[in-house]
Chain length 582, copies 2
C-alpha cells in the first residue's frame, strides 16, 4: 500500500494517527539535526519532519539524500506543527517520519516546479509532463474536466443524447484544409479527419435523434495563427423541429448555468445585435460589450472641409477614450505608433482632446473649427476629458484597425475585467462572403446554412446581401459559439451548392449522401458548436488556450515532447500505396 | 413553433388541450370519411385523427396525400380515444387535427422503419440515417449515452480527471498497424492516430495527475475480423501510487455500479483466476463462467491403450455436456461435423455416453473398457445422462477447439443467459508471447507492462514463463477490460525493450520521451482500458457491437453511407508531398 491518505488531507483532527503518504519532494530544508520535507501530490502539500531525536538514524541519513522531485513513500505519526502555516489546509500538522522508501529518484528538473516557474514556453512544452505538475497547469486541466462534466450533465438533463460520430470520414475541398489518412485496405483512397461532425449531426436529425450533442475533437490543417491548434475540441449540438429562437433559448440556458455554477455570476441578459450593427458599432463581429467606446461614423461631419485624407476615405470613424484628454503628446504619439504597426496597419490617426472647459484641441485644427469638432464629439459620445481617436480609409480595413485600437485601449484602461461576463448574440450573418483569391463567393459559415427565406430572391442579384439564419454567441469579445438553422430540403441545398460554384456532379460526389437523406423526410433542424478550449479558458479567466490543453502543439503543428510528426518506415509507406514526393 | 409537446407526451389528463406536434408519419389508415395517422418522433407515437365531420375539408384532402415518413406538423385538440391502445403510453388519447403542414415529403424508404425491418445489413448501413429511426438502433444509441454518462459521473466522483490526449501523435511499429496522417507543414513526416493513449496516460501519471480517465476513440489499421471496427472507443484509465489490488478494487466498483444501476443486478463476487488456470480449465483466457463444462485433461487415463490418435496427442481433453447422453447418433454426427468445420479445425471427436444405469457407451469401446471410461467421467465431472466430448492434438489448438465447442453447446443449451452477469478477473498473464512469424517474443499486452519482480531472473532463461502484473476483466466470456501495473523506472524499461529486440537507438527514437520522463520522478502506476463498444453491447444484452455505434464501418473499413474512404485531389496530394504508388 502506497498511502493511507493524500498529501492534502490531514488536519489537526488527525493528530496522533499513524499514516502513510506518497508523493514528490517539493523542497527540503536540512538543519543538521532536523530535516523538513514538503511532500506534494495532486491534492496538496504535507510537511514531513525527520528528527535525530525521534527518527531512526538510517531514515534520517536517507532523508539527507532526497533531491527535488524524488518520489518517496513515508510512514509516520501526525503531530502538531510548532509554527503553523495558515496558507495551506494541512498547515496545522506535520508528519514525524519513522519509515522512508525512495520509490524513484529524479534528475534536477529543467525548470522549477512552482506556480511562477523560471521555465520558458519552449522548455515547458518539451517537458510538458513536468509542467503539468505545476498548479496553474494542473488546475487548468482539472477545471476543464469540471466544465466538461457540467456541460454533459446539463445537456443530458435537457434531453440531449451524446452520439459519437466517426473520425475516419471523407475529404471535402470546401472550407479549411483536411488532414487525410491513406487507407491500406482501399488502395489509393483516403479518409479525412473531420473539421466538424457537421454532416453527421444533420444525418442524426434526419434519423430522428431530435437532440444531439458531442464534446468532440475536430481537425483543421491550417497555417496556425497564434493560439490555434490543429486539433481542437468542440461542444457540438443539433436539434430538430426548432427555429432560431429555440436554439438561442437552450444555449442561453447552458451559458447561464455554466457562468453561474462556475463563477457564481448570474447573467440575466443575452442582448442581440445584428452582424451589420456589430460591424458598424464595434468594427467586428465579436464585440466585447463589457465597455463602451462605440464607433462614431464621421463621414457627414468630416468630409466637408479641405482635409484630403478624410475626403478620400471611404470611412471616417472614431471612438471616445474615457479620460484620454489628459494624455501627454508623447503618450498620444505612442498610440499613433501603435496603430501604424504592421499588425494593425493604419496610416495615421487623427485625435481630438475634449477639454474640461468645453473646448476642443485636435491634430487637424488647421482644417476643422470648434463647431465641427463638437459634432465629432457628439457622434462618438465623447465627454469633457475624453480623447477622440479617428481613423480613416477603406471601410473594412479601417473598422478592423479601430477595433484593434479599441481593444488595446480597453486593456490599458482595465476595462476588460475577467470576472465580468458579457455575452452577446450576433445574428443575421451574411450567407456568403466574397473570396478575393478565388474570385467567388464562399459560404460564410458552411454550405448547409439556410438563407433567410425573404432574402432568397437576392441570391441572383446581390448575393453578398443575403442574410443567413446564422448566429454567434460572443463572450467578452471572443466568439465562443456559432451555428445556424440548416437547409433541410434538397432543392434549397442544390440552389446553395449552385451559388457556391459546385456543379451538380461535384455536389453529388461530395454530399450526395446528404442530399439523398433530405429526400427521405428531413425535419427542420439547426444547431450550434462551441469552441470548448476557448470557452474553458475564458471561464478560467484567461485568454490563451494552451494551458487548458494537456499536450498542445506548437505553431508548426509539432508536439515537441514526443517529437511528432516524424518519419515513417518505407515498409509502412509501401503498405499504404504511397510514396514521398519531396 | 414546431411543437408544444412531443409525440410521446400526451395523456388522458391532457384531454381538451389544444396542442401542436411534429414528427414522421409512421403509418396512415384512410377509411374514406376518416383518416388515422400514427405520428412518430424520438419520444413515441401519437395517433392523429382527420375526420370529415370535424376537420376542415382542405386539411382532410391534404391528409390523404401523406405517405410513410413524411414530416408534418399538426395542430389540434386532444380527445379521448374510442378504442384505447394499452401498449403505448399515449394510447388513451388521439389528436383531432385542425391544421396540417407538410414540412417535408419523403420517398418511400428502402426498408420498413419498424422494430423488425425487412432491410438487410447492407441496405441498412447505406441508409443508416433511416435505420437510426428504428427503435432497436435508436434505443441502443441512447443506451450508450446513458452508460457513458454513468461511467463519467462514477469515475469523476471517485476523483478521476478526464484529460483529452492528442489524436495526432507518432507512429510506433510495435503492436498493431497505425493509421498515419501526412503532415503538410512538416514535409515528408507523418502523424499517427493513437491505438490507445497509453504513453500519454503514463506521462500524466509522471505529471502528477494521480487519477486519469478518458472515454476516447482509438484506431487500429487491422484486417477486420467480424465485429471489429478500425475506430473504436475505450474507457481509458490510469492511477498513480497503486498496486494491482487497488486497481482491481476500483474497477470492480465501477462494474458493480453499472450492472446494478442499469440492470438492477447486484454482483457480490468478482472471482479471480490465473491465466494458466483459465487456459487449462476453459481453453481460453476469457472464460464464460456462467456455466460449467470445465475441461478435464485425460492424458493420464487415456494414453495407456492402443488408441494411436490419443497416444500421439500432446493433449487429450474433454467436457461433460449436461443431458447429452440422450443425443441421437445423428445429432452427435452433426456435432462432429461442427468441430471439423475449418473455423474450428478439429480432426474428429471422441464421445462417451454416460448411461442412466451407470454404464458407458463410447465411440472408442474397441480400445477402452468401462473402468477407463469411468475415469474419464470423473475427470470431466460427467454424471449419468451426460455426454463426454473429447478432442485431442496439439495443446493450444485442441484447447481453442474444445473451447469453441463448449461455447457452442452452452448457446444451444440456453446456458448463456444475457440477463445474468458473471465477471471474472484473469490475472498473472505471461509477459511475453512468441510470435511464429517474426520468430521473436512480443509483449503480450504492451512493452510498458511490468514483469512480476520474482520472475525477472527468468527473462534470460525462460522468457515465456515470465508472468506480468497484468489482468483482464472478463464478463460473460468477453474480455471487457485489460490492464497492468506499468514499469516506472528507466532501467526496467530498457531491459524490457532489450528483450523485445529493440536496440537502444530504436528504443530512444520511439520512446525516448517516456524514458526521459522516467528520470524525473515517475511514480509507481498502473491502469486499465475497457472496450466501451463491447461493454455497452453486453450491458444491452447483445453480443454484436454494430447497433451500438451510430455510423459503423464494414469489414473493408468502408463507410458505405458516405462512401469513404475516397479519392482525393492531385492538388491535395501535392500539398502533402506524397504521391500514389499503386
Amino acid at each position: 500500500m502506497y498511502r493511507s491518505h493524500s498529501c492534502g488531507e490531514l488536519r489537526a483532527s488527525d493528530i496522533n494517527k499513524e499514516v502513510t503518504i506518497s508523493g514528490w519532494v517539493q523542497k527540503s530544508r536540512d538543519k543538521g539535526f532536523m530535516i523538513w520535507v514538503d511532500l506534494r501530490d495532486r491534492y496538496g502539500i504535507t510537511q514531513l519532519i525527520f528528527d535525530e531525536q525521534r527518527t531512526p538514524k538510517d531514515v534520517v541519513e536517507k532523508a539527507k539524500t532526497l533531491g527535488r522531485e524524488f518520489v518517496i513513500k513515508v510512514t509516520g505519526t501526525v503531530i502538531e506543527r510548532e509554527s503553523k502555516n495558515k496558507n495551506i489546509p494541512t498547515g496545522e500538522i506535520e508528519i514525524l517520519v519513522k519509515e522512508l522508501s525512495i520509490l524513484n529518484e529524479a534528475l534536477v528538473p529543467p525548470f522549477t516546479i512552482e506556480d511562477e516557474t523560471d521555465g520558458g514556453e519552449d522548455i515547458r512544452m518539451k517537458y510538458r509532463y513536468l509542467d503539468i505538475r505545476r498548479n496553474p497547469v494542473k488546475n487548468s486541466l482539472m477545471f476543464r474536466h469540471q466544465v466538461a462534466m457540467k456541460v454533459r450533465n446539463y445537456l443530458s438533463e435537457e434531453g440531449f443524447i451524446e452520439v459519437e460520430t466517426p473520425y475516419l470520414i471523407k475529404s471535402t475541398p470546401e472550407g479549411a484544409r483536411d488532414f487525410v489518412v491513406p487507407s491500406r485496405m482501399n488502395e489509393g483512397q483516403f479518409y479525412a479527419l473531420p473539421q466538424s461532425p457537421q454532416t453527421f449531426k444533420q444525418l442524426l436529425m434526419v434519423g430522428g435523434m431530435d437532440k444531439y450533442f458531442q464534446i468532440v475533437k475536430c481537425f483543421r490543417d491550417e497555417d496556425l495563427r497564434a493560439d490555434r491548434q490543429p486539433e481542437f475540441t468542440q461542444i457540438d449540438c443539433e436539434m430538430a423541429f426548432v427555429e432560431q429562437e429555440d436554439i438561442l433559448h437552450i444555449f442561453e440556458g447552458l451559458t447561464h448555468h455554466l457562468i453561474k455554477d462556475i463563477k457564481g455570476v448570474e447573467i440575466n441578459e443575452f442582448p442581440r445585435m445584428t452582424y451589420d450593427e456589430a460591424v458598424r458599432t464595434y468594427g467586428n463581429d465579436k464585440p466585447d460589450i463589457r465597455f463602451g467606446m462605440k464607433f462614431g461614423e464621421l463621414n457627414e461631419v468630416a468630409q466637408h472641409k479641405d482635409f484630403k485624407v478624410f475626403n478620400d476615405a471611404e470611412l471616417v470613424v472614431g471612438i471616445a477614450v474615457p479620460g484620454g484628454a489628459s494624455y501627454t503628446r508623447k503618450e498620444i504619439d505612442k498610440l499613433i505608433d501603435w496603430v501604424k504597426r504592421p499588425q494593425v496597419g493604419a496610416l495615421g490617426m487623427v485625435y481630438v482632446k475634449c477639454n474640461d472647459d468645453g473646448t476642443y484641441k485636435s491634430s487637424v485644427d488647421k482644417f476643422y473649427d470648434q463647431e465641427d469638432l463638437a459634432k465629432w464629439a457628439k457622434s462618438t459620445g465623447a465627454k469633457a476629458g475624453d480623447l477622440i481617436c479617428i481613423l480613416s480609409g477603406q471601410t473594412n480595413k479601417v473598422r478592423s484597425q479601430l477595433s484593434a485600437l479599441r481593444m488595446e485601449l480597453a486593456e490599458r484602461l482595465g476595462l476588460r475585467n475577467p470576472e465580468e461576463f458579457a455575452p452577446l448574440w450576433v445574428v443575421d450573418f451574411p450567407l456568403l462572403e466574397w473570396d478575393e483569391e478565388t474570385e467567388r463567393y464562399h459560404a460564410m459559415h458552411h454550405p448547409f446554412t439556410s438563407p433567410k427565406p425573404e432574402d432568397i430572391p437576392l441570391l441572383d442579384t446581390k448575393p453578398g446581401d443575403v442574410r443567413a439564419n446564422a448566429y454567434d454567441l460572443v463572450l467578452n469579445g471572443n466568439e465562443i459559439g456559432g451555428g445556424s438553422i440548416r437547409i433541410h430540403d434538397k432543392e434549397t441545398q442544390a440552389l446553395m451548392f449552385d451559388h457556391l460554384g459546385f456543379t451538380p456532379e461535384e455536389a453529388k460526389a461530395q454530399f450526395g449522401f446528404l442530399m439523398d437523406a433530405f429526400q427521405y423526410g428531413a425535419p427542420p433542424h439547426g444547431g450550434i458548436a462551441f469552441g470548448f478550449d476557448r470557452l474553458v479558458a475564458i471561464l478560467g479567466g484567461q485568454e490563451t488556450i494552451r494551458d487548458f490543453i494537456a499536450f498542445p502543439k506548437n505553431n508548426s503543428g509539432r508536439d515537441v515532447m514526443i517529437d511528432a510528426p516524424a518519419n515513417i518506415d518505407e515498409e509502412q509507406l509501401k503498405e499504404l500505396n504511397i510514396k514521398l514526393d519531396l
